[in-house]
Amino acid sequence: MQAFVLLKLSPDTVDELTVAADGKSLETEALRFKLGDSDEHALEQALLLKEKYGGTVTAVALEALEVDDVLFTALAKGADRAVKLSGEFTGSQSHAAAGAMGSFLQSGDAALPADALILLRSQAIDDLDGEIGPFLADLLGVPYVGGVTGVAVAGEGLLVTKEFAGGLRGEFTLPLPAVLGIQSAEKPPRYVPIAKVRAAMKSGRMETAEIPLPATPASFTVERMYKPQAAGRAEMLEGAPEIVADRLVAVLAKNNLI
């Protein structure tokens, strides 16, 4: 099995995000990017599969600030290859991202390997619907399952566990190649010491692939981007517990909630 982990960095919210002057995008000047949790889990799931069933893991990431660190970390964790898709992807939408990843996987004449398993995030803070996975699967013409919490090899294909709301789980069998959106790996993402990351950096094993930004038509346009505005409707209930309780009941009743 050849596992491909597709990584896309998201804005780091440790610093306050600001809306750019155009009012339609994030101010990228001071913006930093990091790998989201779901991306980390996708990589971990790929590594776990390799440890269990053998095969290879290729980490593929769209170029962004600090993406090199992410790829070196993937190598240090045990990925066999790390490929940076070079191009101006910052702020690109899901269709474009899926297109870039798709053209890497099917670059030139090379068709998608028959035993390819593509893992990627199920969602991210800037992609709550997890669109890239389905878009990519559609592009490649292979099945997709998102919200995945468990992957096992079953015969020639896979047995995949997906989590639904309300504690329900579904099991799916699907053939390879396939695209999986990983919600959480079977184990928390591993820690890799900096010494190993640095060794990976020195090894210089990172590859770069020039991918022209696919001319996929934007499916939507952003009209306006703004921060949540304080509406001032909050009301602080103060006083003795009995009084607060009475007021609370009154408020709920007034809004037809009880």
Partner: protein, 745 residues
Amino acid sequence: MNADPVNVFVLGIPGLALLWVLTLVVFTVFGRRVYRIIGLLRQARPENRFDRIGERVRRFARHGLLQPRLFNERSIGLPHFLIFWGFVLYAVCFGWSLMRGLLPFLRIPYPDDVSGVVWFLEIFAVLVLIGLGVAAARRAFFAPPHLHRSWDANLILALIAVLMLSTLLGQGFRAAAETVGSVAGVSNLGSTGYQPVPSGDSPDGMARPSFTKSSAGVVLSASSIPVGGSPTGAGESPALPLLRTGSNTSSAGPIGGWLGALTAKSGTFTGSATALAKVMWWTHMVVVLFFLVYLPYSKHLHLLAAPFSVLFANLRPVGDLSLAGANDDASAGASKWNEFTWKQLLNGFSCAECGRCDRACPAQTSGFPLSPQQIVQKLKQHLLAAGWAKSAPLGPLGNGSSGLVGGAIAETEIWACTTCLACMERCAVLNEQIPLIIRMRRHLVNEGRVNRTLQDMLDNLTRYGNSFGKSDRLRAKWTQSLGWKIKDARKEPVEYLWFLGDYASYDPRLEATTRLTANIFQQAGLNFGILYEDERNSGNDVRRVGEEGLFEMLREKNLQMLAKAQFQTVITTDPHTYNTLKNEYHFERNGHAVLHYSEVLNSLISQDKLPLKRQLAERVTYHDPCYLGRYNEIYDPPRRVLRALGVELVEMPRNRNRSYCCGAGGGRIWMEDSPGIKERPSESRIREAVALDGVSALVVTCPKDIGMFRDALKTTGNEGKIVVKDLAELVWEAMQPLEPTAKEN
């Protein structure tokens, strides 16, 4: 008949032959074992402990010969001292005696024929016996916790006792024999003690200091040893005057003489006294020889290894975790025996299982699974088990448990250490438990075996340079409400560069104190600046949780920034940062000093630069932070500052180098406490402070202490009884004029 104790037949075997055989066998077994142990140590990782020989010898003289650390525990300090020096004396005399016994042609006396030596032997025998009595009683009736009470130890005590008793009794019998001899009218041959009588007619032609060889000798066998007042003894009495080397009553010491007189007076044994003296000599020699065989298989190898442990002890700053002369990648750590350095393995053989480290260990006392003594012992057991199977390629060893040191040490033990240094401060043989633990942590980190909270911290530190997971751009946010601008040391030259550390910069509970400190520095006219958002965590805790690569990265980044700044001296408010900057950044090579703010405040006061406006009438106690006190021996500056403020300082029972860790160090502040612990170290410390009479404040000089102790105040229900204050808070109070109770901000 000859009184040379070797001149006997035992079960028909000549004594000399027997002694040779015994000696050869014993020294072969002993030598082989020691050789193999040294062979194992030589397979371990290198570490240069052969530098600064003069200093090493001085250290050896102090800790090897005077053993001040043993006297930390009164009941056993003096007994051990006496037993040790008794051992030295007896070991020398044993060698001497053996040499003389094996090589009868040597024209030297036996040690117990030299009156001065005899006095020493006898007096020490009694002192050692008293020491043994105390030691045995301590083991039996008032053993301190964590003293490893093994049959091994009891056997050793018993064997030493036999050595002493055989000497005393031997002396007694000899004296008795002499007394009887004298009574029988045989005059002393000399008064100067030893007087060899060359015997020209020696059958083998060798001149030797003995009387003519008896054709029969004394036959020593179970059946022939006269016991009690057997009449057979009387029959041998003519032989009695024929003492070893010129009978000289003065060769008996005070105790031997007294025992001899007693024996002679009682009439018991008198007949067989010479024979019995020989029995005692043989008993003594055989027990020592047995000791030699037994010793390298028992914990008593301590006796041979400890002097080397002391001689090769660490001479570098104890707060520097780098290894001298190590050629391996430190970040990989160690789990298998041959991944440790030879000195770290030697620790196990030096350890006498006395338990001083365990008794001092806050983790152990709190009920965490860590025992520093067991760490050292388990490594030794692993070394002996796995290393012994050696010679074979190392492959099979790796197939054992994937756990630390062959599965003997649990990860929870390794993570429980606060690196407070109490164990190493107490260890009488200068063992180094903490570097051992850190080396195993490095192994765990290298394998990715870190718990979730620690992993988050390390990720934060890697990404943002602080453990709070806050943006590095917010590091100097606390300065915004200061009302004035602190110099930016990256842009303009300053005299003092203030390196704050994460807690002083980011912890919301400490912001006010940090601003106070800045105001104090400003009002004292200190020319200082900070690195603003370019400061990174110094890496003290990072290094101590075993993330060596991350430590190196943080150090590189900080040093790059510091290289751009112009400053003379680094000051810091955090002892952990202080330790790493001082000992692990090697500023001194560039002529920069590193000072803790308590040192700075102290010198400002002594130079009269701190505008103190009033005396504080408080009664306070002071907590020595581990990394300030034990690690860097800064005990007096904070105390001098307190005195200058006018406060009355009351010491806690555990103060200065005996200070009790708050539990935050070594990265513990980033880890969860294990369930079921008895009492957190910080809680124990708070109770100690609260128990002091009339003390209103616990003064600290470490930002981590503030959080730890304020939490402990709440969890122990002692809120309101005492407050936890930073030294800077008191200084600031004293800088305020009497009238208004000005507060910062």
